[in-house]
């Protein structure tokens, strides 16, 4: 079977509105118009088909009723395709499809916008609020990995948005729950950056800020920098923490900021500096609540540098610090297995 060439006389009708057919047409010569009622205005519209243009495509492909009447204005030569024949031709010339995709997408965009304008229900949510609410939903339903995704994306798009502060502290909360309880979601199991380490410093910071009911300027600076970390903008984050520390020591935030800076160094692949910073933190705060995390970063830095012996030694040390079911210890055990597996 191949497409048929058909001649149409002036004033004849190729198809009527309401017909159902799987034929697709291509105008080769003559003049054909499509007449239809615009669903927005209720007005009758007539569109002329250009030479070399397909028509009847949508209703044929979608197997819907014709939405327009195709009227022959002057004697015309038309090629008639079945769907398989059309697909064959289009497959050989994908530009046909690309062009149609553009046309259809424009139509879709227009009708989509009209539909949205008519939706007067509680549906209309601005994207910023919408994204925040999704994070909230998953957090509330203890799906921490998914909550984290939504909140972190929020900070990427709206770093200074109206929920940015709340989101930052909710990220901390979600990460804490994630490391404590795990999640069906995979964020905790993802390779690479250790998510629970990210929760380390801000976890403690979130509490007093929440308790006082407002966020101090320093806390705000700190949260902004933490949000940069979550956006993986490590260099900018490092600079922001640095600027914060340049303002003088603070009993609450100095240690946390130093910790975060050392972490940024790791992601910036500044392994020597990372080792130096975390070692200094470990010496300065031997009872740091996130000491295991700090040591883990040191171990990973050695691993990255190719010093597997030192990395392995540190990993073993962290494991020996216990307890066995601690999230960090579990993570380190996995890292150690990977490291030893690599040796073989």
């Amino acid at each position: 079977m191949s497409p048929k060439a058909v001649q149409y006389r002036a004033n004849s009708i190729i198809y009527f509105k309401g017909d159902q057919s799987d034929r697709i047409f291509l105008l080769n010569a003559g003049k054909v118009s499509l007449s239809y009622v615009d669903i927005e205005t209720g007005q009758e519209v007539r569109d002329l088909i250009k030479m070399g243009e397909f028509f009847g495509v949508k209703s044929a492909l979608g197997r819907y009723m014709r939405e327009e009447t195709a009227i022959v204005l002057q004697d015309s030569a038309v090629m008639v395709f079945s769907i398989p024949e059309f697909e064959q031709v289009a497959s050989k010339n994908t530009r046909i499809i690309t062009k149609m995709l553009t046309v259809f997408s424009n139509q879709l965009r227009r009708i989509h916008r009209q539909v949205q304008n008519l939706m007067v229900s509680d549906e209309q949510v601005n994207p910023e609020t919408g994204l925040y609410k999704i994070g909230e939903y998953y957090l509330k339903n203890k799906r921490y990995g998914q909550a984290l995704y939504a909140f972190k994306r929020y900070l990427v798009y709206y770093p200074t948005g109206s929920y940015a502060t709340e989101v930052t502290s909710k990220i901390v909360q979600a990460e804490e729950y994630l490391s404590r309880y795990g999640s069906g979601a995979a964020a905790s199991a993802a390779p690479g950056p250790a998510p629970s380490a990210a929760s380390a410093a801000p976890r403690a910071a979130a509490a007093p800020a929440a308790a006082s009911g407002e966020t101090s300027e320093l806390a705000q600076q700190y949260y902004n920098a933490v949000s940069l970390v979550s956006q993986e903008k490590y260099l900018e984050a490092f600079k922001a923490f640095k600027k914060m520390l340049d303002g003088g020591p603070d009993p609450e935030y100095t240690a946390k900021a130093e910790f975060e800076m050392a972490k940024c160094l790791f992601y910036l692949k500044q392994y020597d500096n990372c080792i130096k910073s975390f070692t200094a933190i470990a010496q300065k705060f031997p009872k740091h609540p996130e000491l295991k995390d700090a040591l883990f970063f040191v171990g990973r830095s050695y691993e990255e540098k190719g010093d597997k012996a030192k990395a392995g030694g540190l990993f073993k040390k962290i494991i020996s610090m216990g307890p066995e079911d601690d999230a960090v210890v579990r993570k380190v055990r996995k890292a150690l297995r990977a490291l030893e597996g690599e040796k073989v």
Partner: protein, 219 residues
């Protein structure tokens, strides 16, 4: 959406991305400029409506999603979550043409998907432009029946696995108002309302009602 008939996609491996089970691939309301073709694993499409996560679809290898993003900058209209470990090809507006040129089947599939979406939107538009709230809700039932490919002229009673929130969404009215309409239909014994489903006792009655409202409006 059915699987693509096995086109050779090895040349697109550089666009390959993996997601772990439970990972969000993208979130509703996120701006998006990529679309995905699933190679392995399943993807769940959900929307959070009120306090409920509603399953929209489960997609399989060969299916694509996020395609609207390559053509316009609208926020994502749903959230997609990896139901298994998922491998997918990620395409952007820039490399989309490479894909269509190399894979007419995929381009055709996209084209058909667009056609369906245009019709679905037009159908919704018809509902939304009805003046009468009861007619809107009745027309939503007709649309849902059409989506289930039920010939409304040959059956009377239809059970819909939909909730009041679904109905209010499609009718474009607040859920409180939608509930009032449905309660009125219940009082008229036209429907039975359950928490997880709604039974329309005589769909033809709704068809006649909607048609008469539409004709009345056109005058």
């Amino acid at each position: 959406m059915s699987p693509v008939g096995g086109p050779d996609l090895s040349m697109f491996n550089r666009f390959s991305k993996t997601f772990r089970k439970g990972d969000i691939i993208f979130c509703e309301y996120e701006p998006g400029d990529t679309f995905y073709l699933i190679q392995s694993g399943r993807v769940q499409v959900v929307r959070i409506i009120g306090e409920l996560e509603k399953n929209i679809a489960i997609l399989n290898p060969g299916d694509y999603f996020g395609e609207m993003s390559i053509l316009e900058n609208v926020p994502r209209s749903a959230t997609t979550i990896a139901l298994d470990d998922v491998k997918a090809l990620e395409f952007s507006r820039e490399n989309f043409e490479v894909l269509t040129l190399g894979n007419p089947q995929i381009a055709l599939k996209l084209l058909k998907g667009f056609v369906q979406r245009i019709y679905a939107q037009k159908r919704t538009f018809m509902i939304l432009t009805l003046d009468d709230v009861e007619a809107k809700v009745a027309d939503v039932f007709l649309m849902l029946a059409e989506n289930l490919s039920i010939d409304t002229t040959s059956v009377d009673s239809i059970e819909f696995k939909n909730t009041v929130d679904d109905l209010s969404h499609w009718a474009g009215i607040p859920s409180g108002q939608c509930r009032e309409v449905l309660n009125h239909f219940v009082a008229q014994r036209r429907i039975e309302l359950y928490p997880d489903r709604i039974v329309v006792k005589n769909i033809n009655d709704f068809a006649r009602f909607v048609n008469s409202r539409r004709k009345h409006q056109e005058k």
